[in-house]
């Protein structure tokens, strides 16, 4: 075990074998929306359900993909599991730790890569990674050794290590985002559209990296994506989240067989009753909470 892995393990809560990596039961989340209604156009509060009783489990080392439009609740699910939102009902456990009652234990086990590679734009990749690593108990001597190694592994050019993030391409920024997630050795990795907006080469590199995370680090991965081919090639099971409900979750082959179709795209149409393109148009029009 590396020095960094040892350091992380010293303070990390347990992730015992035999316990599901993720156990979500009847998870519900609502948001309050203010909108003008009626003839008088007076603003009124309305509760909108983002997740309507979602239930599923994930085994350790498994990769599960969740498909659905942004408004379907994918990002809300990821934010709930990341302890960034509080739920309105049901429960969620990560390696046996209650996400809402014991969030600090969960935070030490989880990391996330989202569609936006969010960083301090003036700071360099090394400075941004050092900042993130300190919160996971990594000292200066540990990060001095580990950060260049990890950046090299994700294919980040060493001569750009000291450049501000604002001077890097979107693909490079996403590589640093993956390095940030890897640096903390998460046992559960939440990926929220990690390849959206990347060029084909960067996309393949990110997908290879996700595979490596599973094989080399035994990470459990929840992948929310719009890319049906990506979902099929990376994950054991594919779920479809539609209007806050998880309408199915099974291997891609079984999903296609269930609807008697040849492709995952057709299965998606059949499951949701709508074309995937329509979903994306809706999402552009709504731009709502994911």
């Amino acid at each position: 075990m590396s020095q960094v892995a040892l350091a992380t393990a010293r303070t990390r809560p347990s992730a015992p074998d035999g316990v599901p990596a993720v156990e979500v039961v009847d998870l519900r989340k609502e948001f309050v929306r203010r909108e003008k209604k009626g003839k008088d156009r007076v603003k009124r509060r309305r509760r909108v359900a983002a997740l309507k009783g979602v239930t599923f489990t994930m085994e350790r080392g498994e990769c599960v993909s969740i498909l659905g439009q942004n408004g379907s609740g994918k990002s809300t699910l990821v934010r709930l599991l990341s302890t960034l939102l509080l739920h309105d009902g049901g429960s969620a456990h990560v390696f046996g730790h209650d996400v809402f009652a014991d969030p600090r234990a969960v935070r030490r086990l989880v990391n996330r890569v989202s569609v936006e590679a969010s960083f301090f734009k003036k700071m360099s990749s090394v400075e941004n990674l050092s900042y993130a690593a300190r919160f996971y108990g990594m000292s200066s001597s540990e990060t001095r050794e580990k950060i260049p190694q990890i950046l090299e592994r994700v294919g980040f050019p060493a001569d750009r290590n000291k450049h501000g993030m604002e001077d890097l391409s979107r693909g490079m920024q996403q590589k640093v985002a993956l390095a940030r997630a890897l640096l903390t050795s998460p046992v559960l990795l939440l990926l929220d559209e990690p390849t959206t907006g990347l060029d084909p080469r960067s996309k393949l590199e990110v997908q290879d990296f996700i595979r490596e995370m599973r094989t080399a680090h035994d990470a459990t991965i929840l992948l929310c994506t719009h890319d049906l081919a990506e979902a099929e090639s990376l994950s054991e099971r594919v779920g479809i989240l539609h209007k806050g409900e998880l309408i199915c979750l099974e291997p891609a082959g079984e999903l296609k067989a269930r609807f008697g179709v040849a492709t995952l795209e057709e299965a998606f149409f059949a499951a949701t009753g709508r074309a995937f393109e329509e979903e994306e148009e809706d999402e552009d029009a709504n731009g709502g909470e994911g």
Binding site: N111, S114, K122, A132, G137, R180, E289
Partner: protein
């Protein structure tokens, strides 16, 4: 015992992370820091010149004493501005950068996070305010024959505990209102100083404002610093200022943490941690 030591090490490394990040940002925004220092300089000069202006227009004042009083008031205004601004940036800057979700999902204890921001604010504020004091003093023929600068810095340090507590309460505002929360923090800073005798004795205030002054840490900080610089008072002679500061600090820190905790719960319930804009 080993578990406690590991936990302490973990929290200290996290604290180091908060301090380092702020240092990186000061370094990366070096020219902007210089520009803001020039702005503070200009702002402070407009206040401190008032003493000479009063004499020039026929007023009978001890110019040296009034200049020093105004200088102390203006420097404390600037110091408090830095402390509040850095604490408000705990949320506001990270929301703007889009990093807030990553910081809030990290296993970082919120008291350590806020204390780190406060500690950096004090260190940075002391350095900048001392520089401001020194540079402004060069513009005037001010004499400090009996000044006890060490005691003045000590009073400011004790007062800073309360400033951090109050700053934590204002830091929560951008969580509740992403658009206007930061500006509300500046209102808090102004309200605190107006009742604390920043450029005048609190006795000139209306009765109800005088009462508020008794619970404001800035009142005791300004009194103590003026006594140390103008009268040469040592720490022993300033106990009347120090004990209220300790009491207000002991109340404001837990209160600040609780207010922030509730603000964080509100933000997580309503989905306000997500970057907007």
């Amino acid at each position: 015992m080993r578990g406690a030591a590991a936990t302490l090490r973990f929290e200290l490394i996290a604290l180091q992370g908060v301090l380092e990040r702020n240092a990186y940002l000061v370094k990366r925004y070096g020219w902007w820091e210089l520009a803001f220092f020039v702005w503070s300089l200009a702002n402070t000069l407009t206040i401190v010149f008032i003493a000479e202006g009063v004499e020039a227009t026929g007023g009978q004042v001890d110019v040296n004493r009034l200049t020093t009083q105004l200088l102390i008031g203006a420097v404390i205004w600037s110091y408090l501005g830095i402390v509040f601004e850095i604490l408000i940036e705990t949320v506001a800057w990270e929301r703007w950068e889009g990093t807030i979700e990553y910081t809030f999902m990290a296993p970082l204890a919120r008291p350590v996070h806020l204390f780190g921001m406060g500690l950096f604010a004090i260190i940075y504020g002391l350095i900048r305010s001392s520089l401001l004091f020194i540079v402004i003093a060069q513009f005037f023929d001010i004499k400090f024959p009996v000044a006890n600068f060490l005691a003045a810095v000590l009073v400011l340090g004790v007062a800073s505990i309360s400033f951090i507590g109050i700053g934590m309460m204002t830091a929560v505002l951008p969580l509740i209102s992403p658009e206007k929360g930061m500006q509300m923090g500046y209102i808090g800073q102004g309200m605190l100083l107006v009742v604390s005798g920043v450029y005048y004795p609190v006795e000139v205030l209306p009765r109800w404002m005088e009462w508020i002054a008794t619970v404001s840490p800035a009142t005791y900080a300004l009194d103590g610093i003026r006594d140390a610089i103008l009268e040469g008072d040592g720490v022993g002679a300033m106990w009347d200022e120090i004990w209220p500061l300790l009491v207000i600090g002991a109340v404001s820190i837990p209160l600040g943490l609780e207010v922030f905790r509730r603000g964080e719960i509100y933000a997580k319930r309503h989905g306000k941690l997500k970057r907007s804009g």
